[in-house]
Symmetry: C2
């Protein structure tokens, strides 16, 4: 059992939208990711997803499932949000943004959408 | 769906060793807690437990399950550790320390031990 220093882990890679596993809790992966620009709209029908921003600023564009109303929740460092399962969302970042993600093992980053940004094998770092 | 600002949530209470739920992801609770002093030795046979320190300094005293060797992992802000299920541990903090916890709903803070510090009803804030 070792500790994990988030800042040190973020120094190990530079690619965007490519999550890395930094810890495992039961059947969940704790991941970190660097992002900039816009991701793709998608949803995870089977799981909620936690986003915790540690630097930069993340826009979580979401569509309410009922009426489909679209809005953006901006997360600053030290802020988190949990996107419920089934809710369409699309992260966006105007500056390089670092965040911690939590989701069950096997959760694919682009959810129900196949995209050039889809990552099937998430490395442990 | 709303965002959660960790610092704002920590301003809502002052008691030590008394976790509060700030979010739910599937069947897991995201909790925050303020601690100072020493907790009690305990373990969770059925679940791993994540600790992420946001201020102060946490000592995670642990006993390796095999030989029972005891050591302390010190977590600074921005550092986390995941205590595996079945591992005896006892948090300690020399200064007021704030941290985020993740564990399945219903996980009791003192695990297999009944103590004055046992919290059965964890409030949402």
């Amino acid at each position: 059992m070792d500790k994990v220093n988030l800042a040190q882990k973020f120094e190990l890679f530079t690619d965007y939208w490519s999550p890395k596993v930094i810890g495992e809790i039961n059947n969940y992966d704790v991941k970190i990711v660097k992002v900039q620009g816009q991701f793709v709209w998608h949803k995870h029908d089977e799981t909620d997803e936690l986003f915790l921003v540690t630097s930069g600023r993340l826009g979580l564009q979401i569509r309410e499932p009922s009426g489909g109303e679209e809005r953006t929740i901006w997360l600053e460092p030290g802020e988190m949000a949990i996107v419920p399962h089934g809710m369409e969302h699309c992260p966006i970042a105007e500056v390089e943004t670092h965040m911690v993600l939590l989701e069950p093992k096997g959760t694919v980053n682009t959810g129900d959408i196949q995209s050039d940004l889809t990552v099937h094998e998430v490395p442990h770092i």
